[in-house]
């Protein structure tokens, strides 16, 4: 009775379990890297796209569209110029503009960005598929010295409504000026949204004006301490803000309002479609992504090379085994198929282990990645591009497994059954 070939291959592998396990691990790690990079790329894109849903246009000072998008929404980089309040009022009065939410950046609280905005932010900001921001505890700010903190800020420092916090001038850090004469009372904690809002402290625009009232040239003026009650009497209308989110009455007006802003007479302004600009950013980053993908593909090649090396090296030790098979009537063709099958087994096992590694990695690392970088990874069934990659790896493995097969075939022809010990 002849045992089926795959059974023979499997038993032969089981006989050399340690070497095989190590080879499987090498292939698995390379596959995990390839899939991990792809997963990270997709989830990062999705996370970014989720952040800008619901806003038709972003208006800021004229700079690059990608730059404006990054500093206004993602808090990456800095604005080159501000937008005057007067210009914003005029844009808000455009007949097609439904709402306009100003954003004023520049201060921080313990390394988290402080965002000056209006209460309309909570109403109009959308993330994911049109979801609004929800309050985990408390309510939106109302008075001048009230603040709402994002989920991550609250989690890191254990903030609850009622607590008082101090805002630092500028980026904060050692020796930077503190607005400690004007503490803020936390009125609300936002639920986690997976957007940069989680890592922000939200205050009113008036508050941003108020904390800088007795400041000059980036430092507090000595001897000029304004009691909080007197601040309310000042005109706290901002003179300029960093950027604004704009919603339109009809989406079809988006290009004409964009032109209206870009051709603005009084001030060089820029309006961008956030989703479209994000895509431009991705196309700019495509080269870097491709490089990363190429490196992981090379790692897979290295993994498969290790597989071939182990199989070929193993042939010497297995001369006797193969000779016995030949003696039992296995032709050189069958020896070839046996060796190729063994290599393919290892590759399949490696791919499956790699997939499991990626998923375990995501499950273990996701909370940390989200807290640290606001990057939300999703463990889930591999997407179409990941299946394609796996198929590609298996195909490459099939080609690579021909090498040990061919070596064994040649060896068994040349040496036949004469064994020199």
């Amino acid at each position: 009775m002849r045992a089926p070939l795959w059974h023979l291959a499997w038993r032969s592998l089981a006989n050399r379990s340690l070497t095989v396990a190590l080879t499987v691990l090498a292939v698995a790690i390379s596959v995990a890297m390839l899939l991990g990079v792809e997963r990270l790329r997709q989830d990062a894109r999705e996370g970014f796209a989720r952040t800008v849903s619901g806003t038709d246009l972003i208006v800021g000072a004229r700079s690059g569209p990608v730059q404006l998008l990054l500093y206004s929404i993602f808090h990456l980089g800095d604005a080159t110029n501000n937008v005057s309040w007067r210009s914003l009022q005029s844009i808000a009065a455009h007949p097609q503009v439904a709402w306009l939410v100003p954003l004023s950046l520049g201060d921080t609280h313990r390394g988290f960005r402080v965002v000056g905005t209006s209460r309309a932010f909570f109403e109009h900001y959308r993330h994911g598929r049109g979801r609004t921001l929800a309050f985990e505890q408390g309510r939106a700010f109302d008075g001048v010295f009230e603040a709402v903190v994002g989920a991550e800020v609250a989690a890191r420092h254990g903030y609850v409504p009622g607590q008082r916090i101090v805002v630092s001038h500028g980026a904060g850090g050692l020796g930077s000026a503190e607005h400690d004469d004007r503490p803020f009372t936390i009125t609300g904690v936002l639920a986690r949204s997976g957007t940069p809002v989680d890592r922000s402290v939200l205050v009113s625009l008036e508050a941003i004006e108020a904390i800088h009232l007795n400041w000059s040239g980036g430092v507090r003026m000595p001897g000029l301490d304004l009691p909080a009650e007197r601040i309310e009497r000042f005109d706290l209308t901002p003179k300029a803000v960093t950027a604004a989110l704009v919603g339109l009455k009809s989406r079809t007006a988006v290009f004409s309002v964009q032109r209206h802003v870009n051709d603005f007479r009084d001030e060089p302004l820029l309006a961008i479609l956030p989703g479209a600009t994000l895509q431009q950013l991705w196309s700019m980053l495509a080269i870097a992504e491709r490089a990363l993908l190429a490196v992981s593909a090379l790692v897979v090649v290295a993994g498969l090379a290790a597989l071939v090396a182990v199989m070929v090296a193993g042939l010497n030790e297995r001369r006797r085994e193969l000779a016995i098979l030949r003696a039992l009537g296995a032709g050189p063709g069958r020896i070839f198929v046996l060796l190729a099958l063994e290599s393919q087994f290892i590759a399949v096992l490696g791919c499956a282990t790699g997939l499991a590694l990626v998923h375990t990695g995501i499950l273990v690392g996701a909370p940390w990645l989200e807290a640290r970088f606001g990057l939300e990874l999703q463990a889930g069934w591999p997407g179409s591009s990941e299946w394609r990659m796996l198929a590609f790896v298996l195909l490459a493995a099939a080609v690579a497994s021909l090498v040990p097969g061919w070596r064994a075939w040649r060896q068994s022809l040349a040496e036949g059954m004469t064994i020199r010990i």
Partner: protein, 187 residues
């Protein structure tokens, strides 16, 4: 004054992607916005892409080429094909082309198109601007746009398509080898 404004705008248009686009021969722009049943498509291209010259027509041949190009732009069906299932009907077509005999006065135009004109200026550049308004009975079926204009006008080697639909915004480049613009957000 007008020239100065245009000069200023051209100077920055490399950054301002959907303001007046950089006047770059071989490159044109299509802007698609969908809200409810109403679909707006704007087309903008240097005249050179369409007829091969950018001055007032000097010969009968050039005059004819210009008239033909204008006639084509006036027919949205020949420029881009919308999915049959969406049942879109053109409601309004507006073409602003320089040097045209039929070029209407500045006054009759929506002033949004002012940079589309540089009438009579033989030394400078000239852009053609068109806007099409559709009414779509079944807007959900609008999943892609076939960019016929890349076949009709081989002078357009690269077309940037900006779109804003309920499914999201996008901005992608297309060429003669890839003449189908998806209106779904591709990550």
């Amino acid at each position: 004054m007008r020239n100065k404004v245009i000069g200023l705008l051209l100077g920055v248009s490399g950054v301002v992607h959907a303001g007046p686009p950089a006047h770059e021969h071989g490159v044109a722009e299509l802007r698609i916005a969908l809200d409810g049943r109403s679909l707006l498509v704007e087309f903008e291209s240097p005249l050179d892409n369409l007829v091969g010259f950018e001055h007032a027509p000097r010969t009968i041949g050039q005059r004819k080429a210009l008239q033909e190009a204008e006639a084509r732009i006036g027919e949205p069906a020949g420029l881009f094909r919308l999915p049959q299932a969406a049942a879109c009907v053109a409601r309004e077509v507006e073409v602003a082309s320089p040097f045209s005999d039929a070029d209407p006065d500045e006054g009759t135009h929506d002033h949004e198109h002012r940079y589309g004109h540089r009438e009579g200026d033989d030394s400078g550049h000239a852009d053609v601007h068109a806007a099409y308004r559709f009414e779509c009975a079944n807007p959900d079926a609008l999943d892609a746009v076939e960019l016929e204009l890349l076949r009709v006008f081989p002078g357009i080697r690269s077309l940037r398509v900006h779109s804003a639909t309920p499914r999201g915004q996008s901005s992608l480049r297309f060429g003669p080898d890839r003449a189908r613009a998806p209106l779904r957000v591709a990550l």
